[in-house]
Symmetry: D2
Subunit: 326 residues, 4 copies
C-alpha cells in the first residue's frame, strides 16, 4: 500500500519524529553511477528554509543502507534513509483536538488510535524526501528526458513573492499551481486504459501531500472547447503536432510531443490564525491556535517533488517499454 | 497492464470490431445476487443513441462466461462479454492517414504496426462496457455507498442541450464537466501516499477515454485561496465538517464527509469538419474528412462510466479496509 | 488471485459445466504469429481419450475473442476461450457427500456454499486448457529455449503402461513423476529471493491440480549428500559445469546450464472403488461409489501443462530481464 | 522483485558487508504489540554459533526505523534493520575465481559485474534476518495458528549430531530435511490455482537460500501410490480426515487439517576441502581452497526461517480471507 511502480518500484517509510524516513527502490538496473552529491540539488530545492517555508532545518543527508557499491547501483534494492534529528514533539495533542485540514483525525480513525501523530507522523511532508531521492535515480535512468516543474502561480497571482509575503504577514497560507513538462519522450509509452500515462502520473502526483487537482494539456479548458479547436493536427512524419492541447498523450500513450500538465496545490492547513473547531475531548467547539512557524506556501517545496514523481513514473514506463520491444 | 485493483481486480479486453469486448473480475466475494437485468440501467445510460451520441446501436447484452451460478457470484473469476455485431469496418485507412486527436498514430508506434485499428480497436470507447459492468457489481459490494455522477456543464455552458445541438449542426463536437459525489463512506479508507483515495480514483478515471483533468473538493480553486478560507472546520464528534473543500479526503484518507470530484472530458476527436493534417503515405499535409456520424458529446456517455470506476475503486478500498480491522 | 506473472500476465477463468473456460493473456508483445493450428499439438497432448485418461471428449477448439489480428498478436490482451459442450451434470450431490481428496468440501467452505460444483466447477482440470494455450504463446516468445517434460515413472515403476493398466482394472488410480528440462537459457534470469527461478516455477507448478512435490536438480537427494559431492565445478568460461546437481540455478538465478526439475503428481481422487466417508447430510459414515469413468492417471495429461507453465514463467523472466539490460 | 505478499507485504534489502540488512513490512494492521524482546527467540535460533554453524557472531540486534510507536504497530510500514558490524571482507576475489555452488558467477552475469560480492553480498544468508523478523510479526497476526519446523534428518541420517560432526571433521558440509507443520488453520484459505496454498508456501520457501525441494503431505511418495491408498476419508462434519496424505490442502485450499510439508536443504557450498574449478582470470582449471570457517550444516539455521516464511504466507492468507467474508 506504500509501494508504487511495476519495475522501478518504490516503497517509502518513516515518521516525522521517529528514527528516520526513507525509501527502498527495487528494480533499478545495475551500473548507474550514484554518489551522495547527486542528490544535493533536488534535496536543496525541497528543503525548508527558503522564503515561504518552515524553518525546521534538518541536515537532509542521505544515508545509503544498501544497493550502492563503488558509487554504482548494484541491481539490488537501494535503501536510503534520512535520520530525524531536529524533532521537537510539541505538547499539542493532535488526538483530542485535531487540526482542521490535517490528517490528525483520519489517522486516528484509520489506525484505531495507534498512530504516531507527532509532527504529522507518517503523513508528514518529510516523507517526500524519499520521493525526491528516488526521482534523482529515476532521472539518471531516463537521462535523455528533460523534466521541468515550476511554480507558475500563487494564490491566483503570478507575483509569487508578494502573494507569499502577504500570507506570512497574516499568519495565513497560500496555494499555488505547479506546471510540469517532460521533453524527448518517444511515442509509444503507456497503456490504453488503466496504465495510461495520465493514470500513472496522476496516481503518483496525488501521493504528494496537498495536491487537489491535475490536468493534462489543455485540461479543464478542454471541456469548454469544440473538437475542431482542440484536435492537434499532425505536421510531419514523426507525429509532431502543430498545437499540443493533448499534452503529449493520446489514448493514454505518449505521442512524441512534450508532456505537459498542471497541478493544484492547496494552502498548507497549518496556519497561525485562530480557528474555531471541535475539541474531541471537551466535545465543544473551541478556538485552536496552532503554535510554531509553518510553511506559508507548501507549493514552493512541492516543485521538486512533482518533478521527482514524474521521473519515477517515466523511468518505470521506459523500463516497461523495453519488454515490448524486439 | 490492462488490470486494475488489488482485491476487486478487473481486466478488460477486446477490440471494437473483433469478436467481442469484455471483462474479467477477480476477487469478488461469493454470494452476491446478480442477474442480467441488474446491468440494464447503467448499460442504457452508457448506450449510444441518445442525443449527442453516435447512432451505432449494439444490443449491449452481457453474456456471462464464468463466475455466476444460480444468479449469484460464486467467488471465482467473473467473465462477462459483449459480442460485437454491428461492425462495419470502413475503408478509411487509419494507418496512413491517422486522425488528429485519436490513438491511431500512437497505436501504430506502440504496437509496431500490428494494431487492429478498425473502429478504434482496443482504444475504442466500447471497452468501457466492461467498466460499467464491473461498476454494477462493485456497487452491490458497497451498497451502503451512494455514488452519483452527472454532466454539469457542456462547452462552458450549463445549457447542455443547446450546446450539443450547436455542435451537431456544425459537424463539430463539445467537451463537458462531469461532477461526481459518493456518500456514506466511513472515515479511514485509503492510504497516506501511493494509494491515497485521490491517487486511486484519478488512476481509474484517467483510464476512461477523453478525460483530461480531475479535481477533488475545491480542486484548482484551492490554489487561489488562503488556508484560512479552505480549512474545513470540525463541527461534531463524528468528524463532520462545516464546509467540504477537501472533498471528503484528508491526507489521502476518507474523512467521513462526502467525496466530491469533477472531471474534464474533452470533445471527441472524431468530427465531420474537414481538418488539414499530415498524410503519412503521401508525406504531405492533406484535407481529412472523417466519414460517418459520431458522438458530438462523449461526455454524455462518460457519466455512468465515471460512476462505475468510482464504484470499482471504492469497492476495492472497502475490501482492503477489512484486512486492517480487528 | 487468479492471475500470475509480472509482464506476461495470465488470468484464467471458467467452470467445468459453465459456459466456457478460458484465459486472458496480458503483456504479450505485438507481432507474434499465432494461428489456431499452433495450439493443436499441445492441446492434443493434454486431451482426454488417451490411455489412462477420462473419455469425456470435448472438441477443445480455441476461440479467439481478442488480441489477435491478421494472425498476429496485437499487443493488447489476448482472450481465448473453450466452450463447454459435453457437460452432463450428474445427479451426484457433491455438497452433501463430498468426495475424499477432492475440492468439494473446501469449495463449500471457501465460497460459503455458493460454488458451482458441477464437474468440479472452477477446480476442474479443464481450466488447464488456458494454461496450455498461454504456454504455446509463451514458447513463441522464448523460441530459443527448448522445454521438455515427460512422464518418467508411474506408481513407482518405469513400466508406465502396465502400471496404468493395473490401476484401471482395479477401478483405482495411480500417481507419477514428471521430469522437465529447459535448455538454452542464458545466465542471469531470476532474482535472489522472492522471485528466484525456483520460487516462480514452483508457484506455477503447484497451480496445476494434483501436484504434491517439486525438486530442482538433485532435489531431495541433496539433503543426503555432502557439499563436496554436490558442488558443480565450473569447466569453462561460459560457466558450464561438470555436473548439474543445482538444476541450472544458483542463488535463485539461472547459471546457463540446463534447468531440471521433477514434480510428483498424486493419483486422481476420483476412483470407482468404494470408499467409506462422512455424509454431511446424514451425518454418518457411508459408502461412496463415484459413478462414471475417470482419469486413471492424471499425470499423463499433466505433462504438457507442466511444460506450459514452465514456458509461462520463463517467458515472463525473459521479458523482465530486458528491463535490466542496457 | 524483492517483495512478497499481497496485503502483509515484505521487502528485504541489504548486503552482507554493506551498511546493514533489513526489511520493510507493509500492510501490517495497527495495534499489534511489538517489543525488541519479541524477536529474541527466533533470532537466536537462526543465529550462527551453534553446533554446525559459522562462528561469525553478529549482535543481530533489530533497530526499528519506522512503524512502531509506544510498543505497538502503527499501521504504517515497519522498517527494521540489522547493522553489519563483524565484516571482514576477505582478499578472496569471487569475481575471478567464483566458488562452485555459490551465486558468485550468476551475480556477475545478472548485474553486469556491478555486484557487491563481499561476503555473498545481497545473496548472503544474512538477508534471512529480515525474514525471521517479519515472521515474528506474522505469527502475532495469526496467533491462533501453531507453526512448528524442525530438522528431522541430516545427510540421510536421523543421528543429526554425528552426521554434522563427521562433516566438520572432513572440512565438508551436509544437507538436511526440515519438516514443518501448521495447526489450527480453518478451512477455506488459499485459491484454486495460482495462489494455491502450495504455490504460495513453495514460492516463499524457495526464497530461502539452499532449498532444493518441497513436498506437501505425502509428497513424492504420492507418485508411488494408488488413489485408494491416498484419499483422506472424512470422519466428521468439520471435515476432519482419518489420514492426512493431502497435507491439509485440497484443490489449493486449506481443509482444516494440519498443514504438513518437508523441504530439502542442500549442503552449504562453502567447504574447506579443495575443489578443482575454472579460474575465470587465468582461464584454467585450478585448485580452489576456500578460507575461513563455514556453516557445516546450513539446515540448522534454516529451521526458524522456514517457520518464518510459513507464518508470512499464512498471515497474508488470513488477511486476504477477511476480504471475502461477510
Amino acid at each position: 500500500m506504500n509501494t508504487f511502480g511495476r519495475i522501478f518500484k518504490i516503497n517509502i517509510f518513516g515518521e516525522s519524529h521517529g528514527n528516520s524516513v526513507g525509501i527502498v527502490i527495487d528494480g533499478c538496473p545495475a551500473g548507474i553511477n550514484i554518489c551522495e552529491n547527486d542528490f544535493a540539488t533536488d534535496l536543496l530545492r525541497r528543503k525548508s528554509g527558503a522564503f515561504g517555508t518552515t524553518p525546521r532545518i534538518e541536515p537532509d543527508k542521505p544515508v545509503f543502507l544498501s544497493g550502492i557499491f563503488n558509487s554504482k547501483t548494484t541491481g539490488n534494492p537501494i535503501t536510503i534513509i534520512f535520520e530525524n534529528t531536529n524533532t521537537k514533539s510539541s505538547d499539542y495533542n493532535f488526538t483530542d483536538f485535531p487540526r482542521p485540514g490535517h490528517a490528525d483525525f483520519v489517522a486516528q480513525k484509520k489506525y484505531f488510535e495507534n498512530s504516531d501523530l507527532r509532527g504529522g507522523g507518517h503523513f508528514s511532508g518529510r516523507l517526500t524526501l524519499g520521493l525526491v531521492t528516488a526521482g534523482v535515480i529515476a532521472k539518471k535512468i531516463i537521462d535523455f528526458v528533460k523534466i521541468n516543474a515550476k511554480l507558475s502561480e500563487v494564490c491566483g497571482s503570478e507575483d509569487i513573492q508578494t502573494a507569499i509575503k502577504n500570507a506570512i504577514e497574516e499568519g495565513d497560507s497560500v496555494g499555488g499551481i505547479i506546471s510540469c513538462t517532460a521533453k524527448n519522450i518517444p511515442a509509444g509509452w503507456g497503456e490504453p486504459f488503466f496504465d495510461s500515462v495520465e493514470s500513472l502520473i496522476s496516481h503518483a502526483i496525488f501521493a504528494i501531500p496537498g495536491i487537489k487537482g491535475i490536468e493534462f494539456g489543455s485540461g479543464f479548458d478542454s471541456a469548454k472547447k469544440l473538437g475542431s479547436q482542440l484536435n492537434d493536427l499532425f505536421i510531419d512524419e514523426n507525429g509532431k503536432t502543430e498545437t499540443n492541447f493533448a499534452g503529449g498523450i493520446n489514448g493514454g500513450i505518449t505521442n512524441g510531443n512534450e508532456i505537459t500538465f498542471k497541478v493544484a496545490v492547496k494552502p498548507t492547513s497549518s496556519i497561525s490564525k485562530e480557528q474555531i473547531t471541535f475539541n474531541f475531548k471537551t466535545k465543544k467547539l473551541e478556538t485552536l491556535k496552532i503554535q510554531g512557524r509553518h510553511d506559508a506556501c507548501i507549493a514552493v517545496r512541492a516543485v521538486p517533488v512533482v518533478e521527482a514523481v514524474t521521473a519515477i513514473v517515466l523511468a518505470d514506463l521506459f523500463l516497461l517499454r523495453k519488454t515490448q520491444e524486439k
